[in-house]
């Protein structure tokens, strides 16, 4: 500080933006905290691998459909395959037919990777703000606790949509380009459904992540909580409904299944066709999700309201 005589304080006279403009900086810093760790890039790349499977699977299918006259065709360096069998595998396993099922399966597979990454990222996104006392830094600024929550939720939303909705839209566009332009017009509802499934995942996962991360704060308890919430509850629901033949409503304790059911309803898929067969009605699943989201929101508001910006 010996250079005070040399360096003078300079005033700033600029235009301030409204407090809501602070939402994006909060989200940007949260995303930066995630992406500066190599582990997340590895997991993100793994997530993209599923997308690439669908992306190149559609090209392979389109190509195999032109080879149906041949008995055997060479598939890259992997060997030879019967075109009919190849088409059967691609249509049966990945449901590569440009229908709602294609995107439903894609969202479902991709969702698992999203959950793993979010369980690992929760502590960095929100937990650290509480653990290391960063919250007073945010809340002493003009933005309110709602702006802070919106910023953090936006960070989760960007991440979830980069992993799910955006690749699904790319697949939609790709299928339309491979098929015909009419696909875009005929399946416009499907496009809205993709956005709807993305919205269901975004809202649910954002709120559940923010609530559990602000409660547990550290990575290991976060992973344990998410394992119980999304894996243990899933297994329990399966045992109750499939083995013990309880009512299908017991599947509602499986939060991930609720997003699956509501998401597939957005894509216009008949719930009878869903795996496993017996599912509760979509509106019941939607009600459960709404209830869980409301509880998470109430907890978050109370948790952040309790933060002391000025220490007593």
């Amino acid at each position: 500080m010996g250079n005070l005589d040399l360096l003078h304080y300079r005033p700033w006279r600029g235009q301030f933006r409204p407090p809501r403009a602070g939402v994006w900086p909060v989200a940007r810093v949260a995303l930066w905290m995630i992406f500066r760790r190599k582990l997340f890039w590895v997991l993100y790349a793994l997530g993209l691998f599923i997308f690439l499977l669908f992306f190149f699977g559609q090209y392979l299918l389109a190509w195999a459909e032109t080879q149906t006259g041949e008995a055997n065709v060479r598939v890259g360096g992997f060997g030879r395959a019967n075109p009919q069998q190849l088409i059967g595998i691609l249509r049966g396993f990945l449901k590569l037919n440009g229908s709602g099922e294609t995107y439903g399966i894609f969202f479902n597979y991709q969702g698992y990777m999203v959950m793993i990454i979010l369980a690992l990222a929760g502590a960095i996104l929100v937990g650290n703000d509480i653990r290391f006392g960063s919250l007073p830094f945010y809340l002493s600024k003009p933005l309110s606790r709602w702006h802070y929550l919106l910023g953090k939720a936006l960070a989760v939303a960007v991440f979830v949509n980069l992993m799910t909705t955006l690749p699904a839209v790319v697949l939609f566009v790709q299928y339309g380009l491979l098929d015909s332009w009419d696909y875009f017009l005929d399946q416009a509802g499907l496009f809205v459904g993709i956005l709807g499934y993305g919205l269901v995942l975004t809202v649910t996962l954002s709120l559940v992540l923010l609530a559990t991360a602000s409660w547990l704060q550290r990575t290991v308890p976060m992973i344990m909580a998410w394992t119980i919430l999304f894996l243990f509850c899933r297994l329990l629901a399966q045992v109750l409904v499939e083995r013990l033949h309880y009512d299908a409503a017991w599947r509602l304790i499986d939060l991930w299944n609720c997003t699956y059911v509501v998401g597939h309803a957005c894509l216009g898929i008949d719930l009878q066709a869903l795996r496993p067969g017996v599912q509760p009605p979509w509106y019941q699943a939607a009600l459960v999700l709404a209830g869980v989201c409301a509880l998470c929101l109430i907890y978050l508001v109370l948790r952040i309201r309790a933060v002391e910006v000025v220490k007593g």
């Binding site: 700033w12 600029g14 933006r17 500066r36 290391f132 960063s134 830094f137």
Partner: protein, 333 residues
């Protein structure tokens, strides 16, 4: 800004049944103001109200012309809804934009670099990103952190963290700073540097600040005005110079010989013996207009040798405690 820096009229704040602030009436002009008080005096509650983080339970007030949060805004449903709407879409936070707040706690974001942290603070105050980044570098350079700008926050020393917290409060060039224990945890050299910096900001750059502290030396060194809070009430408010005139003149005497008669005579003259170590060292407080010659005359009368006479005035800390004690005895501010 001259028309009103802080104007509080009968501001009270309850936490359930506990009364944290009791009918505070405070009219402060811009300047360097010290806010003193022991723990539980209501300093933090007052700062929260001034920052607009907490509505008063009763009373009205304005800070820099901005009204305080409406009374009871957090207690009724309609009030809470109105507050929510204002927080999300309104121009709420205008008060906090005019104020730079330096918290006592670290409030850092681990992983960020110094320049990123200060620029983020600028953006959260509402500055455009590029301007916030440019301003962050300027402020960090001004505060002597130019070499540490690209270091991660967890690598900063305590003194650097304090300056960084000041930088994030200063990034948007607010007219007012609220400083919560700015010298907390600093070594003597760091404390001197911080106080010099604050004095420079206030005196040379026209920044007004409210310095909340329990270190009276800090207030004495940088503030012009002092507000003393005790049990939620303002017990003293005035200029530091004015407060210092209320200091008692005190002396430290070194005596040789039987001093009982000498001390008894001193007491008759209105002198208060504050401390007697029994080995000839006495600290006394004298009435106004006291002449040191009287010490020698009385010592001579009692055959006491006055080996040393040293002025040892009451410091601001002692004055502070005396004011609190007097307030306790009188039961009023």
């Amino acid at each position: 800004m001259e028309q009103g820096f802080i104007d509080l009229d009968n501001v009270s704040r309850w936490y359930g049944k506990h009364l944290a602030l009791r009918q505070i009436n405070l009219h402060l002009r811009p300047g360097r103001i010290g806010l003193l008080g022991p723990n539980g005096a209501g300093k933090s509650t007052l700062l929260k109200i001034l920052l607009g983080l907490l509505p008063p339970s009763a009373g009205t007030g304005r800070v820099l012309g901005y009204p305080l949060a409406p009374v009871g805004a957090d207690s009724s449903l309609a009030g809470a809804l109105s507050q929510l709407t204002d927080e999300l879409f309104g121009s709420g936070g205008a008060l906090r934009r005019a104020i730079g707040y330096m918290p006592e706690a670290d409030a850092l974001i681990p992983g960020l670099q110094g320049a990123e942290y200060v620029a983020l603070a600028g953006e959260l105050y509402g500055m455009p990103r590029r301007e916030a980044q440019r301003r962050a570098h300027e402020v960090l350079t001004y505060l002597g952190l130019e070499d540490a700008r690209y270091r991660r926050l967890e690598e900063y020393s305590t003194g650097m963290k304090q300056r960084l917290k000041l930088a994030q409060a200063l990034v948007h060039d607010p007219p007012v700073l609220l400083l919560d224990e700015p010298t907390s945890g600093l070594d003597p050299a760091g404390r001197d540097a911080m106080l010099e910096l604050l004095l420079c900001l206030g005196r040379d750059h026209g920044k007004s600040f409210l310095l909340s502290t329990h270190l009276l030396g800090d207030v004495e060194r940088v503030c012009e005005t002092v507000v003393i809070l005790h049990e939620g009430q303002v017990v003293r408010h005035g200029s530091v110079a004015e407060l210092c005139t209320q200091r008692h003149d005190q002396y430290r005497l070194q005596l040789q010989g039987p001093a009982d008669g000498f001390l008894a005579d001193l007491r008759l003259e209105g002198v208060q013996v504050l401390h007697d170590n029994g080995r000839g060292e006495v600290r006394v407080s004298v009435p106004h207009g006291w002449s040191t010659r009287t010490f020698f005359v009385l010592a001579d009368n009692h055959n006491v040798l006055l080996r040393g006479l040293q002025r040892d005035d009451e410091d601001l800390e002692e004055l502070f405690h005396r004011v609190l004690a007097e307030n306790g005895r009188n039961g009023q501010p």
